[in-house]
């Protein structure tokens, strides 16, 4: 994996006005980079702002503050149509619910080719058809499926159509917002294997948003943990699971039930109490171990460093 930055997120904020005097700070000052060719996992409980982050990065929402720099250019700010088109082609999204995200009145062929039509990627009808057939085969469906409607497919197949649609404009970066949560276990594995295969073949970069931590660990290179609109910990996937530092991450990991009865009998759950933090100053994002960042105050930083700072496996 290269260390070249594809996406840089700088102090990203997304606040929603919910009443005259109440503001929901869904995302509040996020900073992280996504490297070319990696899978960045974003986890957290519902309402922590992980989906909002994904949607703000792709500009489904206009950010309240901060920058999203993609390939050296800011995604937000004033843009004319042609500039926006350029981003839209490079960045695509796979949505959570394969039932709601496909237009029931459109044929699969038109759903997949819609992006190509907008960007003028197909020279003629024949080329368009061929490209759609090729995409269907890439995602494990066959070309006879092109003339059907979404309701004729199962959940797993629909999610494959969603993947094919995202791939149609040859993007380099895909945001997958809980792409497997709505699927059955056996089908989840099919879709995850497909995403991994595509990444290897096409050198894609993923932002993988999910709450199923074992799947995130499996697919991601690095993982960020979000809590109430802030990122509390960011680390390589293995390091995060083996050496969680922030107490919230520890509690989150201790809550996952694993398919192993012996482990389950001995698992002890750890509850997170946000009041136990040092409140003498605003916490900042600091590097406790190489590549392993934690949101903490100076005092906590010293403490974490003493406890977890040395790399011993």
């Amino acid at each position: 994996m290269s260390q070249e930055k594809l996406v840089e997120i700088k102090n990203l904020k997304q606040h929603f006005q919910t009443g005259r005097h109440s503001v929901v700070k869904a995302v509040d000052g996020l900073n992280f980079d996504i490297y070319k060719g990696e899978t960045f996992g974003l986890v957290g409980e519902s309402g922590c702002g992980k989906s909002t982050t994904g949607r703000t990065i792709i500009r489904l929402y206009d950010a309240t503050d901060g920058e999203v720099i993609f390939n050296g250019e800011d995604v937000h700010g004033k843009k004319d149509r042609s500039q926006l088109k350029k981003f839209n082609r490079e960045m695509q999204m796979i949505f959570q619910d394969p039932y709601a995200s496909l237009n029931p009145r459109m044929k699969v062929e038109d759903i997949i080719a819609e992006g190509m039509d907008i960007h003028g990627l197909a020279e003629n009808d024949k080329a368009r058809k061929e490209k759609v057939h090729e995409l269907l085969e890439t995602v494990g469906l066959n070309k006879e499926h092109a003339n059907r409607y979404p309701h004729e497919f199962s959940g797993g197949q629909r999610q494959r159509i969603g993947v094919a649609r995202a791939l149609a404009v040859d993007p380099s970066f895909i945001i997958a917002d809980e792409p497997i949560s709505a699927l059955d276990v056996s089908i989840q594995a099919q879709v995850v294997n497909l995403l991994k295969k595509l990444q290897q073949e096409k050198g894609l970069t993923y932002l993988f948003i999910a709450h199923d931590l074992s799947m995130v660990k499996y697919i991601s290179d690095r993982i960020g943990v979000m809590y109430f609109g802030k990122m509390v910990e960011l680390a390589p996937a293995d390091d995060l699971y083996n050496h969680p530092i922030h107490p919230y991450t520890q509690s989150l990991l201790s809550a996952i039930p694993l398919p192993d009865p012996d482990y389950e009998r001995s698992r002890e759950r750890f509850t997170y109490d946000p009041n136990n933090h040092d409140t003498s100053e605003e916490p900042e994002f600091r590097e406790v171990r190489p590549g392993h960042f934690v949101l903490c105050t100076t005092k906590e930083f010293e403490h974490y460093k003493k406890e977890h700072g040395t790399v011993n496996q």
């Binding site: 276990v185 294997n193 989150l252 809550a255 039930p257 694993l258 398919p259 009865p261």
Partner: protein, 353 residues
């Protein structure tokens, strides 16, 4: 332990325009007092229909219990009428539904919803019922029960709402609790709390639980015994250790292999190819044969009977037949079986029952 519930050869079908959908096709299991049975399987495998049949919550028509007996403390529920059923439902057996957002009445105060069953079944007056509601809310871990019982469901968070649903289900001290994916809609930390709560209450009340889920982690956490369902049938049943450490049915292998373990390396997940069969017209022979890479000729012709692996462990696959080749489960599944290497039941043959 004595048997609380016995289900014998249960068949449930739905009559649709397309024909008869055979949702449950001959299910047998039993449940002892204080025991937790987990039923796992994909959507459409018949796990929810089975448990709804136990409560007689299947809309009839189009549904009907075609055949079979459901013996609850010796009485056959399948033959009861609605009036008899109303005396049992909510009192002796009750259900926790998947979605706490839709299973509560949004126009009724939470306290009144819990009181309904108490007044109806326990013949309590309002004051007594109110006292019991406070106890129940306390039991399920809702702080400030007196204040909270006067609130409406929308004033509760998802986890708190599911606690209310649990309180309603427990109100009349049921002997059997059916939980249909009670934590699927919740976050992991909230899920952990609800599971702990349910286990805790079960210990206190000695009720039996049927737990439907497709999350094998949850199964490992709560279950004493596990039944794996596929296409309307139980294909493997055993203690939780039998199923996780010595699985015999290729479908169980597939389910276990498709979940990454936290220490799994970068190998590909074992995915079950294809999708479940159409129950309008169930295939001849073993319903799983089309997705089974170990399928043999006989799988396409004849349905496998249940083979006995041990006293607690049964599986319906021809692989356990004495003439079947000795087939090893896939690597990813074998890794999970590490703990059971020296168990006596590692032979690949079973006794036909």
């Amino acid at each position: 332990m004595e048997k609380l519930l016995e289900v014998k050869d249960l068949h449930v079908s739905f009559d649709t325009y397309g024909g008869e959908v055979k949702a449950v096709r001959g299910v047998n299991f039993d449940l002892k007092r204080g025991e937790t049975l987990a039923i796992v399987g994909e959507s459409g495998s018949g796990k929810s229909v089975t448990t709804k049949a136990l409560m007689q919550l299947i809309p009839m028509p189009p549904g009907r219990i075609k055949e079979g007996e459901i013996l609850f403390e010796g009485r056959d529920i399948a033959k009861m009428n609605e009036k008899q059923m109303q005396k049992i439902r909510g009192k002796e057996m009750s259900m926790i539904f998947q979605d706490p957002m839709t299973s509560l009445n949004p126009t009724m105060k939470v306290g009144n919803q819990i009181m309904e069953g108490l007044i109806k079944h326990q013949k309590m007056n309002k004051a007594q019922a109110r006292k019991r509601v406070v106890e129940l809310l306390d039991l399920v871990g809702i702080p400030d029960p007196e204040g909270r019982m006067k609130q409406y469901p929308h004033q509760f968070s998802g986890g708190m709402r599911q606690r209310v649903v649990v309180a309603i289900a427990l109100a009349c001290n049921p002997k059997l609790l059916i939980a249909d994916e009670p934590t699927t809609a919740l976050d992991v930390t909230i899920q952990a709390q609800i599971l702990e709560l349910m286990k805790d209450i079960q210990k206190k009340t000695d009720s039996a639980t049927i737990f439907i889920t497709h999350d094998l982690g949850v199964v490992a956490n709560v279950a004493d015994r596990v039944a794996v369902m596929y296409a309307g049938k139980i294909v493997e049943v055993g203690t939780v250790d039998d199923i996780f450490y010595n699985p015999k049915h290729p479908y169980t292998w597939g389910l276990l292999g498709s979940m990454p373990s936290l220490d799994s390396e970068d190998e590909e997940l074992y995915a079950i190819p294809g999708s479940p069969p159409d129950l309008l017209d169930p295939p001849k022979g073993d319903a799983f044969a089309a997705r089974n890479e170990y399928a043999m000729k006989i799988d396409l012709e004849e349905e496998p009977p249940m083979f006995k692996v041990s006293d607690t462990h049964y599986a319906a696959t021809w692989l356990l037949h004495e003439n079947a080749p000795n087939i090893e489960p896939p690597e990813t599944v074998k890794k999970r079986m590490k703990g059971m290497a020296n168990s006596s039941s590692s032979s690949s043959e079973g006794e036909r029952v």
